[in-house]
Symmetry: C2
Subunit: 292 residues, 2 copies
């Protein structure tokens, strides 16, 4: 996804939030802000919002010593989500269409996002909302169709805690899953430790993408991840940052997300607050009649 | 009030809003944003937020031809407020303390503020809320006391439409009032035309401050206004921008406002959403026991 002008104020906000979370003093916060202003005057054409955030994060990391400011929040998120795991499993068991329900649960988990807000969301309330809410974009039929012919799925994780909701979905998939997390801590995104705590090793092969960036920035990823990404027959990509960084890269990517940012809503042409299962390049596919 | 780091993202937002309201194309919006980024790298020490907004506005005006982008919104606000005028007068008539009630009504009118939001507020709902809401800072006793000895009041206006609510207060004051509006259009701030439409000429002497800036920036004001400001025995200053630009200038200024911006809330040490009657330098006065 391209950078919209509305992303600029948000970049400054994120720089400040990251600086404060890293507990640097006000002089350093000011310096981080000034460096971010310079950065924003020199954005290369074709850059995506998470690529800029990656550079902002780099500025903050140079000023601060805390390697993972979101450590405690991530552990809390995972524990809160694990506490719901039995209830979520029960919902799936009682459903007439367990896979469709598990997809919605996975999307509900996408509410855990400290990139958008410092507030801890009410997870169960979100589950109840997302189970009732109509999709703003619904390419689940195309996803089901591609899953039938796939020998495995590459699942691009998003946030710690959301991982538990992903597990619910993965346990309903009939094909093996490679679950890819971030290489190093960035915001509250899941790394290997977070995936293990959430029990993802019980239902998938875990890999990390080698990067310390939001979403999936191929140029920053490890060779091993790039190979997996290149050959994966179907990719499930969770959350806004994966959509922002990959957008219409290939037709076998399915974005599962809640639209929390107004600019992403604009880019997807759906209202903020929407839930979305969107196949990459799906506009083309809609025209050719292969999905709804 | 000083510029806080949290003001920076807001400056970019305001630049974009002003650019779009002036209907410049996306290339020009981008250019305005880039010029604002440069501006934010060179903020002089001691500057107030409205002084920076003044410079942003200057950048926008150079790109756009529309002399008063808020013209229609201002007229709509005045008409909506005038429609409530009889109901507001009835409230005052029925009150046991008409002056205290009129002060609250004047503060309720401060909800009309397109600097903070493009949304048109529900005016009557706001009146009902503000009439019930406890003050976060309440220096009304000090205001009453100063009014007793004053031969006139200088009333610094804020937004068009809010002017009608000011009129309700002015009509309850026992002393003559000089009502000062902006010299030229800036956001939805009232200029002479707006004050006349709202009927302020029926209850006060109208002057303009000669400036095209939010709040009261003395250095940009006309000689005539500066003289009036210098000698006014009591000043009632409406809205956030007057507080931001004047703050603790003199002890005879009374700020009447709703706290709509979190940073101003921080500066005043009150929650966002608060209503405030604050005497300038009131902390000193509280210590010496001359107000509550």
């Amino acid at each position: 996804m391209k950078i919209y002008l509305d992303c600029y104020p948000c970049f400054l906000k994120q720089a400040l939030r990251a600086a404060r979370l890293s507990r640097v003093d006000e002089t350093q916060q000011n310096s981080i802000l000034q460096q971010t202003l310079s950065l924003l005057q020199n954005i290369p054409s074709g850059a995506t919002p998470p690529e800029i955030f990656y550079q902002i994060q780099h500025i903050v990391y140079q000023a601060a010593d805390i390697p993972d400011p979101y450590l405690k929040l991530k552990e809390l998120s995972t524990q809160q989500a694990l506490a719901l795991y039995p209830k979520l499993k029960a919902l799936v068991r009682q459903s007439e269409d367990p896979l469709a329900l598990a997809i919605r649960i996975s999307i509900a988990g996408n509410i855990i996002d400290f990139g958008m807000s410092d507030q801890i969301a009410d997870l169960w309330e979100t589950v109840e909302r997302v189970l009732q809410q109509p999709y703003a974009i619904d390419d689940t039929m195309a996803l089901f169709s591609q899953l039938k012919n796939a020998d495995h799925v590459l699942y691009l994780a998003d946030n710690a805690g959301e991982t538990v909701f992903d597990r619910i979905l993965i346990e309903e998939l009939a094909v093996p899953v490679v679950y890819a997390v971030k290489g190093s801590p960035v915001l509250n995104d899941a790394i290997l430790h977070d995936a293990l705590t959430a029990g993802l090793n019980r239902c998938s092969s875990l890999i990390d993408n080698g990067a310390q960036a939001l979403g999936t920035i191929i140029g920053l990823s490890s060779e091993a991840f790039r190979e997996e990404f290149k050959h994966a027959p179907v990719i499930i990509a969770k959350g806004q940052a994966n959509y922002e960084t990959l957008s219409d890269a290939r037709s076998n990517i399915f974005y599962l997300l809640q639209v929390k940012c107004p600019v992403i809503g604009l880019d997807l042409d759906v209202p903020q607050g929407s839930i979305v299962v969107r196949q990459s390049m799906s506009k083309t596919l809609v025209q050719s009649g292969t999905n709804n």
